[in-house]
Symmetry: C3
Subunit: 436 residues, 3 copies
């Protein structure tokens, strides 16, 4: 028996959650977008594809949408490289929405429609407290029973977009596994910040979404405690690629490695987002702004105007954001070390893993990992070197991106070429072998 | 039957929670401040007035304070435009404080004193875990029963100023509605950060209050989940109007739309705080500081020194905080768009609401809202234009300030003149009609 | 009977939690580090010393480590000035680790080994949900029963390093005191951020630890609600003393006054960290960076380049980070007051306490505390003065550092000399007498 807090599904990681309208009026083929999405492959194809029979589809098109899902998945589901989890309608305060969602699940899962063998589960939006989750779970059980599927075989993912759903996440460990439910079917906890903002009645001057950092922490924590996977909500400004990456970086630091994608371009970004970079690089804290250094012939160069460095005989003048410091060489090195940080590549991470494993075999519990480099600011070059102690816990914590990589590699053969392009074949092989 | 997470009281919103000492020694009339406060009208009058028979009143004056409340509310309560919720003494660790509070409730609510028909409820400070809340609730029930009032008719608000009370807020949905309590009477969840700081034994170098952002999030979330209203604690530095507004802006972004007010001047600020501005304006991120642009003949002007812009033939040099960028016109536009944001007026919001409603009627699920303007920096003018996609969820989330406005308008006729002065009669009328 | 949320152990505060490996291979004496640590005195000795038979000690050395603990504590425990809480192995997902931990507890606590009278409790790492805590508690009870110790006399501290343990902290008030456990023995809640990062599967680009601010808040809150003491995890970068202090300052503002120490040098820093400074000083917000002013002959001098001030006849030009303001003297004073803050010394705090106590005796509920000074920027001197209102709640909240000081003074006679050196004998005496 596995513990509840080990991730319980085939996919241990989900990077991307991509939604597609299920039926659009005025098109020759109302299922056009579904047909296009199910053809995605490689980095453009999400880990979880969500034919969206809720918000993305007009209310009067949703019965047709359910039929479209069944038809399109029956045709193309076998070849689709990710998992398929349609979203149906639901609302904690509206029994008729819940009944509609149930009917749509029955339609999509009907074996006569030929889609069910490619359907991995359903996404339930607008859930409330945990008793509301149980109502949805009961419909999954009935669907499974009606169609002769194994109980619990359909995964259930929920959108967290109310305060009551946020609180429900704290109760999952006490509720999953009880005799009268099949909540072990839970898979993704997905934040829905626009509706959450409405539910909380929050107001911002510009109408922009609040950060909802506590919600994201609580979602990632619940995922960790109940063996589920945390996914962040949609990022509206589709053109703002840098902003999307900043959001992912913040999410990843909370243990939320997945994010919603609204377009195939966003899917590509989000599939790559939590993976380590192909090349390592240095960053410097330029008076509160993190700036990436440019590597030139092995020297890391700061090209901005916020940090100035001048050699004055034996000493140096370092100015950061207007504040001048007069420093000896040792002091300068220490000051720069405080400002600098190194972002390791996949190759660097595998190196460190192997180095630690060798040390462990040799009977050492902790070793120092050294990172060295030469930094150039205003033409002045300084050699720097920083140590970090690694012990078993550090090793385990640094293993997460490698585990993610392996999960991707094993479950997404369609991305092997992209990964080899990104990292080189040699790095991919080393990553697959480390930590076994 | 309404769901538990719809706000359950007559007032769906409370902007202001204004406390007044109930009895002061050495005055000719110990109830002088009560008499003054009950005369407040318009923007100076709070949504909830709290004759404070706890911390604001010396311990040896509190029996007199309870009599003063009854007397003053009997006289002037009928004309007071807000709700009246006296605060009585209470402490989770002190049964004698709890008994005193009960006695004061009996005194204030005694129909013979003539105040009870204008008393909307009581505020209970220093509560602990939810079982402590139930002790207070039981006293409310006894008071109601003794005086022939309907059970549950007196609202109960609590001050959250202990870790145990913060945890209790997560249990409300499981406890409200049980047969042995009347906790549905709950109304306001009010943070009390000074005592909370003591209870947490927190220390800051300057003695200033910690931010307690998580507490505020948890309070707003509990209010959302249990159909209550969240209110932030007192802002001590009475002269710092800008600081008070910053706090409100941060609170509003969490769904905490109410705040404590210590003076009528603070009441005015807090009554206006969460309402949209009368005139829209642009803000720019000037190297980490948000600066409002000045509107001059339809051009939005940045007048600070932190951003510099120079036209150099076909290209531009943009400097933000010392970092220089050389940009084509298109790049400049994109760069500025990232820095700029628009704060819509009430009129702008109603425009957008109406535009979306029309689109919805025409069968569209999502439309782009455009915001255009001309920005001038160092004499260089640049036309910019940004789009934002609106769907049903955006529309619903943007409705909050309008709903707040309607709640104010319906419940506070004494503020109609102030609102008409602020927004013009035409805008008020449009706001009252949108979204019906 | 004391309420659950009053701190329940002899030590009401714990500043320092210092771990030491219990057995190292290849040394003449495998217990060398234990023998060295138990000899620490004064500021170098922690409030809680943790012979670490888990992560700090290699797995194959832990049986020997348990014997070493018993031997070394039997010899030197009577003279050790802090409490002694060995850490044993444990894991929520591994029954054999739990059984090993139990065996090590039996070994260390065996009265025949002579250590038990100096052992205050045990630290249990890697706990999961509260039912897992109960398994550990049961082993404590069995150990106590086997060796004729009073039930509940051995304190139990836990390391919070999983999402399930974080959630368990919210249940303590409901579980402590139940007939079938002795969880009242709980003492420290210690965050373990490296393993927590692994459990949350969080990724940061540089491999640095995330802030985990919500975890720390939740730990401090649980400690407050259940009468326990919150301690932060290890700070890896041993050379970064400034960073260690910044972390402590952030922790203290959440009510987390204790922190892990990896070296005697870190113990010294952490023992002094939460105590008020010996000398008060002013700080100024220099465009987002907090800078300490230098006191010269009673004038507080800003020596940086981020703020510039020039007198221009009757008016002043003040530039902060490039933004220029032209101000009358009164405006300048107000502007500077917004930027300045005073950090009171222990002496200042005692002064304010006494002033408020005198006012209270004279029948006043609130008084203004004034802080005055002269500030010099670019040679221009400005006299400033700020008021802060103190009432009973302010007084109680400001009492925390004084209570901490008293707890230290009463429980750590070995630090009396250091405290007298730091504060002078007169200040120590006044601090011990205030608030009685």
């Amino acid at each position: 028996m596995s513990a509840i807090d080990e991730r319980r599904h085939e996919r241990k990681f989900v990077r991307t959650f991509f939604t597609t309208p299920t039926a659009e009026q005025g098109e020759d083929d109302s299922a056009k977008k579904l047909r296009s999405a199910i053809g995605l492959r490689g980095m453009q194809a999400p880990d979880v594809w969500v034919p969206d029979n809720e918000d993305a589809t007009a209310p009067n098109m949703r019965d047709e949408g359910a039929r479209n899902i069944a038809e399109v998945v029956a045709e193309g589901g076998a070849e689709f490289p990710g998992e398929i989890h349609p979203r149906v309608v639901w609302h904690r305060d509206d029994p008729s929405a819940r009944y509609d969602g149930f009917q749509h699940m029955l339609e999509i899962a009907d074996p006569e429609n030929g889609a069910i063998e490619h359907i991995d589960g359903f996404v339930i939006p607008e859930v409330g407290d945990v008793d509301d989750w149980k109502k949805a779970d009961e419909f999954f059980t009935i669907v499974e029973n009606e169609y002769g599927l194994e109980e619990g075989s359909l995964a259930m993912s929920v959108i967290i977009e109310s305060g009551s759903a946020e609180l429900a996440m704290g109760k999952l460990r006490d509720e999953m596994g009880k005799a009268d439910n099949n909540l072990q079917r839970l898979f993704l906890l997905v934040d829905g910040e626009v509706d959450y903002t409405k539910d909380q009645r929050a107001i911002t001057p510009t109408g922009g979404l609040p950060e909802w950092k506590e919600l994201r922490h609580n979602t990632a924590r619940a995922a960790s405690a109940a063996g589920l996977i945390a996914v962040d909500g949609p990022f509206d400004d589709i053109r703002d690629v840098a902003g999307y990456h900043e959001r992912m970086t913040a999410n990843n630091a909370m243990g939320m490695l997945g994010i919603w994608s609204l377009t195939p371009t966003q899917v590509v970004e989000a599939n790559k987002g939590p993976l380590p970079p192909a090349d390592g690089y240095w960053v410097i804290d330029a008076d509160g702004r993190e700036v990436e250094l440019t590597s030139e012939d092995g020297v890391e160069v700061y090209e901005g105007d916020r940090i100035e460095l001048e050699s004055q005989g034996d000493t140096y003048e370092l100015a950061v954001g207007g504040d001048e410091l007069h420093l000896e060489e040792d002091e300068l090195r220490a000051e720069l070390l405080d400002l600098l940080d190194y972002v390791p590549s996949m190759d660097d991470i595998v190196d460190s893993m192997e180095e630690f494993e060798a040390a462990k075999e040799a009977g050492k519990g902790a070793i120092a990992m050294t990172q060295s480099g030469t930094v150039r600011i205003d033409g002045v070059e300084v050699a720097i070197s920083s140590d970090r102690m690694w012990d078993e816990a550090t090793y385990q914590a640094m293993m997460t991106p490698v585990k993610l990589f392996k999960d991707v590699y094993e479950n997404r053969p369609d991305q092997h070429d992209d990964l080899a392009d990104l990292y080189s074949v040699a790095v991919v092989e080393r990553a697959m072998e480390v930590g076994i």
